[in-house]
Symmetry: D2
Subunit: 220 residues, 4 copies
């Protein structure tokens, strides 16, 4: 799935590196992550094969400031469920039906360049209720020909990092070759890039309370 996305982003001037499940550490070594500003994640049948230690590493990196773009069936990836704290279930039907993605927050940068809506001719349906926390910003809602709706573009702030869930992208349709879909992914990558570097103060993440024994008023 990654080839058309990588090709498009590179053509737009965004350097891309690819990591796949079969690589050692799934290609997500400490060194690779330390050089990554935004991670785009697509998975489907093999979520269970992802090493828990790598999930924790990515989780830490997101809370430190790395952006995370979660695509389509990655709603059930370990890393997304870890960040959401919910079951992340939904309804599904794979019947090559039409999806129409509506913009419900036209001021949001992830909606740039799209107009009121765009269509995907053939897609797998995902339907509500989608068991995620109410998003900090809801950008897209999808309509499906079979009768369902779905919150297809959901933004979250978590720690120092930004997370965007984007629904489209079933592997049996050419969704990631469609210009509007690629435009959204690019918008999301730019939105999710760390605004303030990466915060790696270790006590921030391991301590239930960082001790500040003196009143600030005494110090300042």
């Amino acid at each position: 799935m990654h080839a058309p996305i990588a090709k498009y982003l590179e053509a737009e001037g965004i350097p891309v590196r690819i990591a796949i499940l079969d690589e050692p550490e799934h290609g997500l070594t400490e060194e690779v992550l330390s050089q990554t500003d935004v991670l785009t994640w697509w998975g489907h049948r093999f979520h269970g094969d992802v090493d828990d230690a790598i999930v924790e590493r990515v989780h830490q990196r997101v809370l430190d400031g790395m952006g995370l773009i979660v695509l389509h069936s990655s709603h059930f990836s370990k890393i997304f469920k870890r960040l959401m704290g919910t079951f992340c279930g939904l309804y599904v039907r794979n019947a090559a039906e039409k999806e129409r993605v509506w913009v419900v927050n036209p001021a949001h940068p992830i909606a740039a360049g799209l107009g009121d809506y765009f269509e995907i001719p053939q897609e797998e349906m995902y339907g509500e209720p989608f068991d995620v926390p109410p998003p900090d910003a809801l950008v897209f809602v999808s309509w499906f020909a079979g009768g369902e709706v779905f919150r297809s573009g959901c933004c979250y702030h978590r720690g120092h990092g930004k997370v965007f869930y984007f629904r489209p992208g079933h592997e049996t349709y050419p969704v990631y070759h469609q210009p509007e879909v690629l435009q959204v992914i690019k918008n999301a990558v730019l939105w999710a890039a760390p605004s303030d570097g990466i915060d790696q103060r270790p006590d921030r993440t391991t301590s239930k309370g960082i001790n500040r024994s003196e009143p600030l008023e005494a110090l300042s």
Copy 2:
């Protein structure tokens, strides 16, 4: 810590049952949880002693519809961290200093009966940044004499359940004997009670996608 809270809630007509860490299954058996509408959680030094299986059981019950009130140092309980998906760290100083709890959403039912603010004469300080998701509703912000602020009343919708974090309650001060604090806990219990029963459809929680093979349009 639980005695004054239980006594107050019972006097207000809310039946209360107590569960403590040292009981088998920490007192949170399947049977007990199945009879619980809202669970109030206070813990401090022994978060690590809570059995992971019980945490998963409570987590499931919350997403099924049970309310959860998370008190003070329980910000670092396993169940709260599980639900939030973040590190839940903060700054801390225990210097018996004054806390003033400000209402920032006077329309919210958890703020009922409080006026613009109330004071706690001596408290442990908790300071921002508090590493939790932006709350779905922010009800209280605390001022501390030493120079910090804190988001002290945070509401979350998670699955079918409601979660409320409430900051005050250090064990060395008589915080849970103070009327305004008890009023907030009562307000929160009423707010968090399941509005629509408990949803226990098993596939809702175990499946990444519940199959709906026929279009709704064909069915209806």
Copy 3:
């Protein structure tokens, strides 16, 4: 439109009083409003005939704590636009098409008793983009047979008051005779009822800054 709603709410034990456009002050005198906890508003073609002074009176009462339920075409009422601060436009088509109202926040009290969705056999379509502020809580999203979606249940906290916009209710279909629709209206009335009485401190509303010349620290 009001008869079936009033009849249902009264049967549910909620006292109802009716006010219509043609009455003096549209039936919304100071005295009537002072006895009103929640106001349900339905209007269509005659928004322009509503007296601005009455709109200001209702606006003041909402910010003081009165709940407001805004139904269907009242999205373009003066009072709703006044409270939202946006244009409140949308897309419309009256073609007796099917609407399916999906619950996207099952923990919310306004969703009580509904299941995953309910259907309205024939309705006027309202489509996104709906020019309102992002709701504080989004409860429903509608699917329409003609291809659109709509944020059909939107909660707002404004001042001491709660506002709920609920989309269904075109006058040429028996929408307000449908049990699920009436259930939502009842849920919304209970949710919007003032949690803490009515706040009528006059300087709260007329002053850009209420003077507090002494530090609280000096007073307390």
Copy 4:
């Protein structure tokens, strides 16, 4: 007040144009607004002198996509109250007291470059309750030496435009000469810049419902 802000933004490569109350149309002619991406607004004693027609013009432009940065006492400007739909009151004390501005959303681009907090040595106090809608994103909360807190950095999406309220800036202290304050204003200007141009379809703003007589399904 505008000189240090304008000087700083221009040094950062952002072209600035200045408009003042005493100019014809307050300097905010149709032509000027049509060339403005982000408008920064500061006013204090003379809110009442701002022409209502100019307020409507700016309101329209914001909903079309222009960013608006509302500074300090402009919380009570006509344009901010028009956009918020609430009274926008607060508590005030001018006693040259210390303000400490805390970051509560470190992932947000407006918090870039600030650390956990920054201090303003002498400021006018603004205190909660602040009568505005719950912000779409809350970035800053202030602590004041006299005992109050305040939501000092509030983001709103309204129509196609973004609005940011930023509290500091009393005219008798050198607040706008302080680097952290200028940094926030620059961050906010970049955040509020239109992400997708300006939407000027006239029927979007004047019609309660833009007619779409044919189903999209028939058209596509």
